[in-house]
Amino acid sequence: MATGYPTDDGALEAPAPERLVWMYTQMYRIREFEERVKSTFTAHPGVIRGHTHLADGAEGSIVGSIAALAPGDQILTSYRCHGYPIALGTDTKAMMAEIYGRSTGLCGGLGGSMHLFDPARGFLGGSGIVAQHLPHAAGAAWAAQIRGAGQAVVCFFGDGASKQGAFHESLNIASLWKLPVVYVMENNHYQASTRSDQEDANAAAGEPLAVKATAYSMVGITVDGTDPVAVHATVAAALARARAGEGPTLVESLVYRLSAHGNLIAPPGVPLHYPEHEAVAIFGNQAEYEAALRGDPVPRFRHRLVTDGVLDALDADALEATVREEIDEAERFALESPLPAPDSGLAYVYA
């Protein structure tokens, strides 16, 4: 489904078989990592504090997008930020240690789950305030435009974020200045416990959210975010336009998050856990949730690669086993790592 201007994604090459296997591996790594994060709430109560958001269901969208990047490109994300750095090659041990608040964490335990950063790999960070990183992405894209080396920026955010002024201000200026940025909206149909059609005028009118791009005279496309190959093609085409000076694109990537918005929000004394998905817990819509589970993009992509003869089932088992070992190791490393020194934050208040 396309809105706004037509795209030229037909001109792009589909990923080679090894690349498809790489994509599946990354999707599986993200899923296993986050399953481990989730199980930590029960296996090791109290180890994860605050608020943690999982990307289960969005792995295809994340990996399809990241697969389209070129060296030197940069990304920015919301608080739902574990998947992207995994695909970019950030060490999962350092990531798990960050989520467990350890001194060996990616950010020394100062940031936590919502605020991962890995600028060396092009990840400029996860922001906890909805949509406020969209202007940062425009700024990073402006920097890329000034550098003139053909680099671009991809900005990931949720459907809910498109209700913020920062979304509209950023799209307008990005389009006006023809900034090399791709705005990837992961539309999981919910913002926390509110359904899209309860808060979005386009959704309520039965239109895709990608139509918002039309208001800013930029390309808006809706893609099946559970299909990493489709996402790759769409984001690669958008990046090609961005690098060619043709300006930004709004990609609406349709996904369904398979866990609740985040873990329980509770003051001290109440054990944290992952509640039921809002579709069930708030709206009593078991059927919707079960349909989403049946469409789980991770096993679906595996099945597709095996059916297409791209990946041998035994090889798939083997790569999955290797990933599980990696995540076991990440968990062990994080659990065994020390907590940071109490005064370790003070050195970082100012540069």
């Binding site: 608020h51 020394g108 335990g109 940031g111 926390a192 709206f283 109490p342 370790s344 934050g345 003070l346």
Partner: protein
């Protein structure tokens, strides 16, 4: 008669009772009233109770507009930081209109915002940002520390004809306490003496009131009598009650979860330094957060925060006591 309920339920009780008394009261915000089972939606209907998009500028701006048009909106913001994306609407619109119109316009709205979630919520969700609003003319700032005050201050907030920022402390959400049945209003600008004492005055707000009370208990075991005062609203600020206490104790320790230079504590200290200087037998002591963002990891988080032990130590220092263990 009274009943025992959690702090967060006391806030809801006041909103519900005011909505029953006054049909001009509206209640809206994100992620509330999304299902037909929502108790507010059921009782008051979809015209007065609404879920909004994630659009703080519009939410607070619409509250301002509806208030000018005769309603009394209550905006549920959840975390205090979220209103920062609408900072103009909070500090430079509705709060100015009564003045600029020479009294022709009033903006009776309440912004309900939780703060201080120093329980692993890290850099962007743990702020204690109330201090930055106490100097905005036209704004009122309430920050209850008990369920009873939460109910009473919310009732007053809804009845007040000015924009009110109602800051509730996230760590207190489930703390239970006695709350008066039925209509209950706590006036703005009237501090509450949470514990009487004669040796030192400890002023604290929100969750730090409880740290101060715990410290007072420890100090009592050591023969020190601490008076704990909770201003309850920092705009208006009841300086007189604090001055009266300092006149008797001669010593002042001010506790605040905010960073030192953004704290209400600094303003309270300045007021007492100017108006109560002759009562003071020792310098005023401030126990605030260190000037740092809040970290995710527990040891780094608690290191920068005020706590019972830091209050005990500050009182000891102010009174010139030998350092006490623990």
């Amino acid at each position: 008669m009274a009943h025992v309920i959690p702090y967060i339920a006391a806030i809801q009780e006041a909103i519900r009772e005011e909505m029953e008394r006054d049909e001009r009261v509206l209640y809206f915000g994100q992620n509330m009233a999304t299902s037909p089972d929502d108790p507010f939606l059921k009782q008051f209907g979809p015209a007065r109770v609404r879920v909004t998009p994630i659009s703080e500028t519009a939410e607070i701006g619409m509250a301002t507009g509806a208030a000018m048009a005769g309603f009394r909106p209550v905006v549920e913001l959840y975390m205090a930081e979220f209103l920062l994306v609408a900072a103009d609407q909070v500090v430079n619109e509705g709060s100015r209109f009564h003045f600029m119109s020479k009294g022709a316009v009033t903006v009776p709205m309440v912004l309900v915002a939780g703060y201080g979630f120093t329980y692993g919520w890290a850099g962007q969700h743990t702020g204690s940002i109330y201090g930055m609003f106490m100097g905005v003319p036209g704004l009122r700032v309430a920050m209850p520390s008990t369920p009873a005050d939460a109910k009473g201050l919310m009732t007053t907030a809804i009845r007040d004809d000015n924009p009110v920022l109602f800051f509730h402390h996230y760590l207190l959400a489930l703390t239970e306490g006695e709350v008066p049945d039925g209509e209950y209003a706590v006036p703005f600008g009237v501090a509450d003496v949470k514990r009487s004492g004669s040796d030192v005055t400890v002023v604290a707000t929100g969750n730090t009131v409880h740290s101060a009370l715990a410290a007072a208990e420890t100090l009592a075991e050591r023969g020190v009598s601490a008076e704990v005062i909770d201003p309850r609203t920092i705009a208006p600020l009841d300086v007189d009650t604090i001055l009266g206490s300092v006149a008797r104790t001669g010593h002042l320790v001010v506790v605040d979860q905010a960073t030192r230079h953004a704290s209400a504590a600094a303003v309270i200290a300045a007021e007492v330094a100017q108006k109560g200087f002759s009562s003071l037998q020792a310098p005023i002591s401030l126990v605030t957060a260190l000037d740092s963002s809040i970290a995710y990891a527990e040891p780094v988080e608690s290191f920068v925060l005020p706590d019972e032990h830091k209050i005990v130590a500050a009182v000891g220092e102010t009174l010139g006591l030998a350092p006490l263990p623990g």
